[in-house]
Amino acid sequence: MNFIVSTWAIVVKDVRSELRTRYALNALLMFVVTSVATILFALRDDELSPEILSGMFWVVIFFTAMSGLSRIFVSEEERGTTLTLQLVASPSVVYFGKLLFNSGLTLILSSAVTVLYVVVFPAFVIKSPLIFGFTVFLGSLGFASAATIIAAVIAKANTKGTLYPVLSFPILIPLLMTVMKSTARALDGELFTAALGEFQILVSYLLVMTAGSYLLFDYVWKE
């Protein structure tokens, strides 16, 4: 019980901190707008196939997330509040609190990208909303899971910004390949059952990454 109360208190603390500083959210949304605008400039009137659009969809999410999700640990490390947090909470509580916050942030991010894509790309028509919804939901959670533990790792390093995508990309490739595939299915208007295999992989990835991070987090968090 205390575990849940503490974890939630960390989320509350981070949300209030984010609302006050707007550090991650503003940067994320601006990044989305600029990257989508760049794609539009490059394309002009060319129509894109569902495969390419679904790839571009996740490319934007990947790079945007790489600009913001690491804040969750880097900000604690930079301000010297890591010890404070260590003093009041166990590593597991910190991990799950930060994971929840990052998951929320990733869900907001992918929803924003979805809305933007539907508005600006005429070819981005979600023909199977159910596949699309599940893909974005499970994909965002899995994404946040891997991104959170890598964020904790790079918070201790010297070159945080450039290192983040370098370390995250190999870990995220299986996830990215799967979500691109099932997003393409959603744009193609396939039946829900066609994407069940992808969902199974996404759930499996989410479980393995979260449990693995939970076990490894102690070693990352505590010197």
Partner: protein, 129 residues
């Protein structure tokens, strides 16, 4: 600490088992020409090049046309966007990716598979020995 290891380990195990089950029944998305005509979507068809029917290369459209016999025995015309692959003559089997349109299969990609790699002529060798 130990219960933590057990919980974490179990979840990882469940995740991997889930993935393995998925892997085991992952249906390889191959079909034959009949499937391609039916679903009218992008599909992969595996088959053998029918060497005794004509094949041609259209230099204007850069399209290579040939006939392919799929695994269920149906022979169909295939139009490939692009040139004739280098080792097309040697290929034991050919995989084409694309859609059925009208009276021919329109392929956007082609994969040529060499004769089962290192088998060589073991079959012949065995018969002789």
């Amino acid at each position: 600490m130990n219960t933590k290891m057990i919980i974490g380990g179990l979840v990882i195990l469940v995740g991997i088992v889930l993935g393995t089950i998925n892997f085991l029944d992952s249906n390889v998305e191959y079909g034959d020409f009949a499937d391609a005509r039916r679903i009218q979507k992008k599909i992969q068809v595996k088959g053998e090049w029918v060497r005794d029917r004509e094949s041609s290369f259209n230099t204007e459209k850069i399209q290579f046309t040939f006939y392919l016999k799929d695994d269920s025995g149906e022979i169909s015309k295939v139009v490939l966007d692009g040139g004739r692959p280098n080792n097309f003559d040697l290929a034991a089997s050919v995989v084409v990716k694309g859609k059925y349109s009208g009276d021919y299969f329109h392929a956007t990609e082609i994969l040529t598979k060499c004769p089962s790699k290192y088998e060589g002529r073991t079959g012949v060798m065995k018969k002789q020995s």
